[in-house]
Amino acid sequence: MNKILLVIQREYSTRVKKPSFWILTLVVPILLAALYAIPIMLATKPMEHANVLVVDDSGLFQGQFRSGRDITYFDAGSLDYAKRQLASVDTLDAIVFIPARETSIPQDAFLYYRSDAPSMSVQSDVNSQLQEILRNVILLDVHGITPDDYAMLTSTHIRLRTQDIETGRDGFLQIKLVIGVVLALLVFMGVFMFGSQVMRGVMEEKTSRIVEVIVCSVKPFQLMMGKVVGIALVGLTQFALWVVLSGIAMSGVRIANADLFEQATSRHSVTEVASKGTEATTQYEAARYQQAQYEAGEGIDNDLKDLIEGLASINFGLLIILFVFYFLFGYLLYASLFAAAGSLVDNETDSQQFTLPMTVPLLLTFLLLPAMINEPSGSLSTWLSIIPFTSPIAMLFRIPFGVPIWQIVLSVVLLLATFPLCIWVAAKIYRGAILRYGQKATWRDLFRFVKTKN
């Protein structure tokens, strides 16, 4: 027992001392913090102001372009004049040109620029204004609908709520779906990441031939389990550091940009920011901003309410316990198989012969996720969440939706029963294969190793 602890200690300390461990440990929180900070900084950062000339030969767009905080539109009489201006005045950035109509509805518009192409935000603003103005013209001319009426019509919103008639509670299926998929993905990636570390570790010992010295001191089973457990501890350490460091990095971002966050998260300031640049003079624009207010304010409120209620409807205690359980045993199950695969081969390319078939259940469950999403309690999902090799992914995906207790118990019991069996088989293969060099192992060898007594 003492020796297995020594092996665990070596596996752990050599990996934790590696620079690559710390790089990965630091990169993930930094990336997360950046993902968190960048959109907010971009949204609140003032863009370079653009001045755009509008030349309208169709007669539909004249005076209709609305300037905003970042773009000012000027009507210019003729295209020739506008082109001369663009060529000579540095502060002008582009010309929007709508040619004379050949049909009642114009088909093409042009955006002219000098040397530097206009930014994506200018292009998209021009484009959306073109579409909107044209739509308003058609609505008014053909159907007699004013922009105000239209804004009112499109601002209606009805929320579809899924409810269980027995409990009367909302289903919040979307939130549960996201949580389920994230959990399934975490287990999938964790098993592959740390499982292949086990395999590489075994291959390192085999190819460097040090294993012959070590098996004189420790039993092959102790060496294999020491490695599997040591790497599991490395994985747990990394996850714990990720959680802590990400928390620190995100609160750091929040504190450093406190003013921006207040702007971006407070409902009133969102609408303020949106309306600051443009003065809402016409009734049409007032309606427009009412709509924006709805989208920014009440919409967020409802989504937030959904999110909070949805989260509250999930049994997090059970979720966390089962996540740790399935992650750990899923890893142990597959890591022992990865160790066996590593012992069978002399180099990484050959290893695929064995790793591919043994990871099929994992890959299959992953590929079947879309089908499971469609029916989280269907027979496919149920079966996959009970079969030991697929249950770590499938069951975790299903947990947020609520799973009958007998299915959870069955799945847990089956996994617990399979795990020693799997390790036993893996240890047999490992013991038989670890000192064989040169010959390529076949599936028949595999069965022979398993049958060998002791």
Binding site: R10, R209, V211, E212, C216
Partner: protein, 236 residues
């Protein structure tokens, strides 16, 4: 010290050892000779309990050999190997602790050995930074560090330059003087003649010649060990 009685081992249809019996006297240097593929390494692995024989028994100090007895062996395999990324000192201490030494004793003995072999400044270097010969020197120290009663060296001189091979020979003789029993396999007949008290010649999975070096040389007058080896293997 060690009695090997009627050991057999097959791999599939290939017979690696066929009824091999030998006796290694306590405090002697025993040479295991034979052409490539004769079965020497298989025999050594069986003594180290790395593989199990199909038949036959091993007696260690007169009793059937147990896993605990294996801890009294220091084994230097033919294919040397260390963790390439680990530092020399740290790795040597780890391997010594696996053999049952506590950390302080292991470090103290290692420092002594490293000083005597003048390799103390390798302590903090990674194994991959050392040349092959240097790695072998480190591995030799690791093999003998726990003061094993029985030392088994598989081709100890391969990969060493003459100067270092000579240092190694002197260290082996020093260990013998301190009471260790040594088994080593080699192709190098002059070094076998120089070091061995007893030898055994294995060919095609069987012992074809064994006994004390003096007796064997007396029964083959005018021949050196090289000649005896070639003639015996050929005539067999």
């Amino acid at each position: 010290m060690l009695t090997i009685d009627n050991i057999s081992k097959s791999f599939g249809t290939y017979r690696a050892l066929d009824g091999v019996s030998l006796h290694v006297r306590r405090g002697s240097v025993f040479g295991l000779l034979g052409p490539n593929g004769a079965g020497k390494t298989t025999l050594i692995r069986i003594i180290n309990h790395i593989i199990r024989p199909d038949g036959g028994t091993l007696l260690f100090d007169g009793h059937p050999m147990t896993d605990a007895d294996v801890m009294q062996i220091g084994y230097l395999p033919e294919e040397r190997g260390l963790y390439k990324k680990m530092r020399v000192g740290e790795q040597a201490i780890y391997l010594a602790r696996l053999k049952g030494l506590d950390k302080a004793t292991a470090e103290q003995r290692l420092r002594q050995w490293f000083d005597r072999l003048e390799i103390a400044d390798w302590w903090n270097r990674r194994v991959e930074e050392l040349s092959k010969g240097m790695q072998q020197k480190v591995q030799f120290v690791v093999t003998v560090l726990h003061n094993p009663q029985l030392l088994i060296f598989d081709e100890p001189f391969s990969g060493f330059d003459p100067v270092n091979a000579d240092i190694l020979k002197r260290e082996i003789l020093r260990l013998k003087e301190q009471g260790a029993t040594v088994i080593f396999s080699t192709h190098n007949m002059p070094s076998a003649e120089e070091l061995c008290d007893d030898i055994a010649l294995i060919d095609h999975a069987q012992v074809v010649l064994s006994g004390s070096l003096a007796d064997i040389k007396a029964s083959h007058p005018g021949q050196d060990l090289d000649r005896i080896f070639i003639n015996t293997v050929r005539s067999y």
